[in-house]
């Protein structure tokens, strides 16, 4: 049975094969399909369903002034994207693709009137669409630990891209206590078109 399909190499009979060899031909055919199935199932079993994802967290309050937030905890990292001892600020992309980015800060309010705290997800090298940012107005209500949330559903990131979270004061100088914070990155596609 010399004929083979071009890609999967599945055998099939030609005009010179004798009908009495039918069982042999059939077995060769089904064995070849079995091998292809085994390969596909093995690949799926190894890849499903983990995706590149990482979360960095601040669990102990840290003073920050107009600067990058240093994290103290890795909540999850499925693709070796963090090294919190060497670089507590950064998630580094290791698999290219389209990503969702999210960030949050819980900060102590400022005594003495309105100001605008911002958080920015800093992407370096920067995406042409720009970095996601959230700015809110705080009226300085006492005893309120206010939260600021930023989210970017789709951003195409290359290998080596660094993702960080920055907090900025608007109109107020000095350090503020970042009581909680997190920065999350997760992959959800490897190409723009299906």
């Amino acid at each position: 049975m010399p004929n083979l399909t071009p890609n999967m190499l599945l055998p099939y009979p030609n005009g010179l094969d004798a009908p009495c060899d039918f069982d042999v031909q059939w077995c060769e055919f089904t064995s070849a399909i079995d091998a292809v199935f085994d390969r596909f199932e093995g690949a799926l079993a190894r890849t499903y369903p983990a995706v590149p994802a990482a979360i960095l967290q601040v669990t102990t309050p840290v003073p920050v002034s107009n600067n990058i937030i240093p994290f103290d905890t890795v909540a999850i990292d499925t693709a070796d994207m963090t090294d919190i001892d060497a670089d507590p600020y950064t998630i580094t992309i290791k698999v290219a693709g389209r990503y969702t980015l999210g960030g949050y800060t819980g900060e102590q309010t400022v005594i003495g009137g309105p100001y605008t705290p911002s958080i920015i997800i800093n992407v370096t090298p920067s995406d042409p669409l720009g970095a996601p940012q959230s700015t809110i107005l705080d009226f300085g209500t006492l005893n309120i630990n206010f939260g600021n949330n930023v989210h970017w559903e789709v951003m195409t990131l290359a290998v080596g891209t660094r993702v960080r979270l920055i907090t900025q004061n608007g109109g107020v100088s000095g350090f503020r206590s970042i009581d909680e914070a997190w920065l999350a990155v997760y992959w959800h596609a490897d190409q723009e078109l299906p």
Partner: protein, 211 residues
């Protein structure tokens, strides 16, 4: 998935060719269905979407109040591909046990409206919180992480709309809380009909294997 090797004929009984072909076709289809299910599972993340069908009323000054189903609100479930039958924030149903350890995205949209007088420039807080078992207190929980947005009501007559998101790792010890809080001294605050909450499992915590 149970894998069955495809069979082949054992004798030269040509009258059985049709039967053998049917058998091979059915076995092949079975294997293809299994592959398709795995692909669909990888492509369709477990996701639940719920929306309130009645206002949740009486949120008190400076007190965290549940604005999810746990607070007694009526919610419908427009989408659920998980097989989990309970509400997103119901600790008795064990959502995080059902869907398993992993990274999740949780979201909240709500419109908070004062039930009476509006106190200008007072805060409205939209919170997704994760409480987890506290080993230092018997039966106790402690707050582990949250996603939160704080806005200020300027008395426009339409209340305050807010969206909060939280990406976090969840385990079977975690409980999801959907909360709101306010500083409106003039009256209590209501969460309008149409509070949306959603959860989607992003990944297991396993390391990615590149094939």
């Amino acid at each position: 998935m149970t894998v069955t090797d495809l069979s082949c004929p054992t004798g030269e009984n040509y009258a059985a060719i049709a039967l053998q072909m049917q058998e091979t076709a059915l076995e092949t289809e079975s294997r293809l269905i299994g592959l398709e299910q795995m692909l669909r599972a990888a492509n369709n993340r477990p996701t639940i979407l719920q929306v309130s069908t009645a206002a949740i009323t009486g949120l008190l000054l400076n007190v965290e109040g549940n604005i999810g189903p746990l607070g007694g609100g009526a919610f419908s479930t427009p989408f659920n591909n998980t097989g989990y039958a309970g509400n997103i924030d119901d600790p008795s149903q064990g959502l995080t046990t059902y869907l398993g350890d992993g990274m999740y995205e949780i979201g909240l949209y709500a419109n908070l409206v004062a039930s009476g007088a509006v106190t200008d420039n007072t805060y409205r807080m939209f919170t997704i919180a994760i409480d987890t078992l506290d080993p230092t207190v018997v039966g106790g929980f402690r707050r582990r992480v949250k996603g939160e947005l704080t806005l200020y009501e300027t008395n426009t007559g339409v209340g305050t709309d807010g969206v909060a998101t939280l990406e976090t790792r969840l385990t079977s010890q975690d409980q999801i809380r959907i909360l709101a809080k306010h500083g409106n001294t003039g009256s209590s605050v209501n969460a309008s009909i149409g509070t949306w909450i959603w959860i989607s499992k992003v990944s297991t915590p396993d390391a990615v294997v590149v094939v």
